[in-house]
């Protein structure tokens, strides 16, 4: 049962690693990196969903003679938008971390919770 859907399990484990990192870490930058890992795992999972056995890339200009078996192109087009959204959230997270460091002087989540500046 597991070996038939092995690529799905790999990306589920990667998502769980990112989730555990976001919950259990105390450094602000490590929390930001863990959230980025979660978003990358979700994007890769979308692409893996659209695979067909023995298919070629969906570019008709580069295909060999007489090929009709293509990989599904729609998940790849949707992942482009999702990657740009992940970039936007990463940029905002890092900017907020910089502002927090300037205000409190520390990067530890437990200290910031106690100070309540």
């Amino acid at each position: 049962m597991i070996s038939a859907n092995l690529p799905y399990f790999v990306f589920a484990v990667l998502f769980l690693i990112g989730l555990l990192g976001a919950l259990l870490e105390t450094n602000l930058i490590k929390i930001g990196i863990a959230i980025d890992v979660m978003e990358s795992a979700a994007n890769m999972f979308i692409i893996v969903l659209g695979y067909r056995n023995g298919g070629y890339i969906p570019v008709k200009f580069l295909m060999p003679e007489g090929v009709t078996n293509f990989v599904l192109p729609t998940p790849q087009a949707l992942t482009l938008t999702a990657i740009v959204i992940a970039l936007a959230t990463s940029a905002l997270m890092l900017s907020l971390i910089v502002m927090l460091y300037r205000h409190y002087g520390t990067l530890d989540v437990r200290e910031i919770r106690r100070l309540r500046g």
């Binding site: 049962m1 597991i2 038939a4 859907n5 092995l6 690529p7 799905y8 399990f9 589920a12 998502f15 769980l16 989730l19 555990l20 919950l23 259990l24 893996v48 969903l49 659209g50 695979y51 067909r52 056995n53 969906p58 570019v59 008709k60 200009f61 293509f70 599904l72 192109p73 729609t74 790849q76 087009a77 949707l78 482009l80 938008t81 740009v84 959204i85 970039l87 936007a88 940029a91 905002l92 900017s95 907020l96 502002m99």
Partner: protein, 93 residues
């Protein structure tokens, strides 16, 4: 701490739900027939309607062009908020 055990239990529950959901998907490499209906339409008509050979680019810019407008606006919003956060204005205390 009490918080840490609660987080680990929640992560285990989410992990179990994920594994159960993933093992009930279609087998890897053999998508279902109703899942590929739209893609077959795009693959058959990509070189015939318009002469663009790259199917992925023709989906992004021609068949689903409105999503690209939304994506550009997301990029603009991110740039706008970053520039707003780091302004060097004089604060009137």
């Amino acid at each position: 701490m009490k918080c840490k055990t609660l987080f680990i239990i929640a992560a285990i529950v989410v992990g179990g739900a994920l594994m159960g959901a993933v093992s009930s998907l279609h087998p890897f490499g053999v998508p279902t027939a109703e899942g590929t209906a739209v893609d077959e339409h795009y693959l058959n008509r990509a070189g015939v309607d318009i002469s663009c050979e790259n199917v992925v680019t023709s989906i992004v810019f021609d068949y689903r062009g409105f999503d690209t407008i939304g994506e550009s606006s997301v990029l603009f919003t991110a740039l706008l908020s970053v520039m707003m956060l780091f302004r060097k204005g004089g604060r009137k205390e």
